[in-house]
């Protein structure tokens, strides 16, 4: 019985929504704006990232960084290498910072650099590898082919490390005393040739310095070096030579980016060095071994129109509520359905569902049309791997973007119910969704992130398929899509609860 009544109310609200031609036109307009503007923007933008790369192409075709000081010798077939790392850190008497703003914020570093053992397809930057290493902040890691990263024990102190090859399988071990070994994990490296280079390496992730001030974001990268000392280097079997060669694996240099791009990219890449005395190796190296995707997110770029569609949806949501108060139509509504909470719920469900489906269709359409255009304009592999509708990140982005749009529409409906007048309700919703972005792009980093967490603007993070990134101009990129949609959801539920409370309290 109850479900039947709920269904009746849903049917009634759906009839209301579809029977006002202007609202349907607004809904279609939102879809048209979303698709149209996205396609227009995809057609207009170009990039030369592939012609002027700051990355190398990894074994799976994705853009990666690959730089280190590598002390190696060839090995054929299976084998095991062991070493003890006695120290790891930045070299003493580092030259004073030659580039980068004084007051800039240092961004936290990832796990993709350190000192350890590696087996690699030659010394070419970007070739297939597996490594077990100690990262100064992230502890022991077992990594391969710029994508796989397994964690061992935490802490950057002295360690014994061991790497064993068995066919395509590489297993990493760690130990504190060289006697009791603990397995970190096993990775599969399919592209590793029968004869590979094996040895010890040192790398250091460049320091990223971020400066946000009114109107601009500047990002400085500073090359840094790590120095590590190794002893007890032993190659068990399969070693074809007895002498170790030292090489520097380097990356191509990228030109500085556009006008508000990077500043003080700073100096030449410091070369590494290797010293050996009585089996003790002191190696200095720099560079990162890991993913290096350009910050531009081609999924987000193909959804630019969402912002314009959102404005139309805000108007629709508000009107769906405030039209009830024009000419006291709300009385007719509550005469037909006296239980007001259920009316509000039915309105929210109908509007949310209709907008969700429309938004999903238009975002999907925008994506499908814009992607080939973007590829033509330079957003192509390897810098920008091809994204398809079935990629999990794309699916997530489209679903969450549609959810964001639907939630904003329902939020607007709730605000319309609370305020009962169109103009202030539309303005409130627009201001809450968009103004934080405009103001956020002018403020320093911390208040901006805070703004993105506490306002509806954080919902724009749903449009990003790539991981959160504080280095971009667009403020929402510093929060995760899930954090963004959670904020929007909280606002929507909060506004609905307030509207419900007021509907019950207020005479119609």
């Amino acid at each position: 019985m109850n479900t039947l009544q709920e269904f009746r109310l849903l049917l009634a609200e759906w009839t209301k929504l579809r029977s006002v031609r202007r609202w349907m036109i607004t809904l279609l307009g939102a879809a048209a704006l979303t698709v149209g503007l996205s396609v227009l923007a995809a057609n207009g933008g170009t990039t030369d990232m592939n012609d002027n790369p700051n990355f190398v192409v990894g074994p799976d075709g994705t853009p990666v960084a690959d730089g280190m000081q590598f002390v190696h010798q060839p090995i054929t077939g299976d084998g095991t290498i062991t070493v003890r790392i006695t120290s790891l850190g930045e070299p003493p008497n580092v030259r004073p910072p030659s580039g980068g703003p004084e007051g800039a914020q240092k961004l936290p570093k990832g796990p993709w650099a350190g000192a350890g053992l590696i087996i690699k397809d030659g010394t070419r930057s970007g070739s297939s590898y597996a490594a077990v290493l100690v990262n100064p902040t992230h502890g022991v890691r077992l990594q391969s082919d710029f994508t796989t990263d397994l964690a061992g024990s935490p802490g950057g102190g002295p360690r014994w490390l061991r790497l064993t090859r068995t066919g395509e399988q590489i297993t990493g071990y760690e130990s504190t005393d060289g006697a009791a070994w603990r397995q970190v994990g096993t990775v599969t490296v399919p592209h590793l040739p029968q004869t590979a280079q094996i040895g010890v390496f040192v790398s250091a992730e460049p320091e990223l310095l971020l400066q946000r001030s009114a109107g601009s974001t500047s990002l400085g990268a500073r090359e840094v070096r790590n120095v590590a000392t190794f002893d007890n280097l032993q190659l068990s079997t399969g070693g074809t030579g007895t002498s170790w060669h030292s090489d520097t694996v380097t990356m191509p240099r990228a030109e500085p980016e556009g006008p508000d791009g990077e500043v003080g990219k700073g100096g030449n890449q410091p070369m590494g060095s290797t010293k050996e005395a009585d089996g003790v190796y002191t190696i200095t190296g720099s560079g990162k071994i890991g993913p290096q995707e350009p910050p531009d997110d081609i999924v987000q770029i193909s959804l630019i129109g969402v912002i314009a569609g959102l404005m139309a949806l805000i108007a629709l949501g508000v009107l769906f509520a405030t039209s009830e108060y024009r000419r006291d139509m709300i009385r007719t509504t509550f005469m037909a359905a006296p239980r007001r909470g259920r009316v509000l719920a039915a309105k929210a469900i109908v509007l949310g569902t209709v907008v969700y489906l429309t938004a999903l269709a238009s975002a999907g359409t925008a994506f499908v049309i814009a992607q080939p255009m973007l590829r033509e304009h330079g957003f192509a592999p390897p810098a920008f791997p091809k994204q398809s509708l079935t990629d999990p990140a794309v699916v997530r982005t489209l679903l969450l973007t549609a959810a964001f749009m639907a939630a904003v529409a329902v939020f607007s409906m709730a605000v319309g119910t609370l305020m009962r007048r169109s103009a202030p309700a539309i303005t409130t919703a627009v201001v809450l969704v968009i103004l934080p972005i405009i103001i956020g792009s002018l403020l320093p980093l911390t208040p901006t992130r805070w703004l993105m967490h506490i306002t509806l603007a954080g919902g724009f993070a749903t449009q990003r398929a790539k991981a959160p990134d504080a280095t971009l101009v667009e403020p929402w990129s510093m929060v995760s899509p899930w954090a963004g949609i959670a904020t929007v959801g909280a606002y929507t539920l909060g506004a609905l609860a307030l509207a419900w409370w007021q509907l019950r309290r207020r005479d119609a």
Partner: protein, 262 residues
């Protein structure tokens, strides 16, 4: 004309929302500016790598305050259509251009008053809060003052900006005749473009959007530092760009208003 002006002033004055919206415009402008300058910390921004444009930040609140002005301007027009009061208005003053001109003068007038209060309040608030965050003369930030030519220009420009926003609101209101439609149109025109500029990756397109969008172009006049590198259009040219939008809306409104049946 005087009588029509008096009539329009009486209409605007006797609607309770007018007072609230003007208050909201002033409060929003001052509070957001105060909050923005309050978050600054000299530790995160030191010369020569970083030089905050404190004047611009102290006036950042108009980006919110203008929303209230948009509602005010639109509500001076559209409810007359919603309630068919426009028929009464035009019966009292058959010359439609006089009606439009009177509405415009009255709305722009109250907006100018609110704008002057809001801008002065924002500068005063910033002047009070900035030294506490380390933005002192010793660090290269003399107190904000209208004696400074660029700050004066920013203040005057911001006041004019709000007045032009009011003109734009009235124009679009007459054209669209519907409250929700007019408010959405103006807000979309103002707010969507700066976000689009963040979204497009192509610097040429960013430049074009900043240059031709009414809000970005119009508020360029607030910039007092690194003008050469951070702006996309000249200060007065930017205000001119907004004026062109407002004028276009107004001319279209005047034409349509004359020939359309009430």
């Amino acid at each position: 004309m005087t009588r029509t002006l008096h009539a329009e002033w009486t209409k605007l004055r006797t609607v309770p929302s007018t007072g609230w919206l003007l208050l909201a415009a002033v409060t929003a402008t001052v509070l957001v500016g105060y909050a923005a300058t309050g978050t600054l910390d000299i530790q995160h921004c030191q010369a020569p790598w970083c030089y905050e444009d404190t004047t611009k930040l102290s006036l950042v609140g108009v980006r919110l305050g203008q929303a209230a002005i948009v509602i005010l301007a639109v509500l001076a027009v559209t409810p007359e259509y919603g309630t068919k009061m426009i028929k009464t208005t035009l019966a009292a003053t058959p010359d439609r251009l006089t009606v439009l001109a009177s509405k415009l003068i009255v709305v722009t007038g109250v907006t100018l008053v609110a704008a002057v209060v809001g801008v002065l309040g924002s500068l005063l608030a910033a002047r009070t809060v900035l030294p506490g965050n380390g933005f002192t003369s010793a660090n290269g930030y003399p107190p904000l003052s209208l004696g400074d030519d660029l700050t004066m220009r920013a203040a005057v420009g911001t006041v004019l900006y709000l007045a032009l926003i009011a003109v734009l609101g009235v124009g679009v209101g007459v054209l669209v005749r519907d409250t929700a439609g007019a408010v959405t149109t103006v807000l979309m025109l103002l707010y969507a473009s700066p976000v689009l500029a963040l979204l497009v990756s192509d610097p040429r397109w960013q430049h074009r959007i900043h240059r031709y969008s009414p809000m970005d172009a119009g508020l360029t006049i607030q910039t007092t530092r690194d003008i050469a590198t951070t702006t996309h259009i000249g200060a007065w040219a930017g205000l001119g760009m907004l004026a062109a939008y407002a004028a276009a809306a107004l001319v279209a409104a005047a034409l349509v208003f004359r020939v359309r049946d009430a």
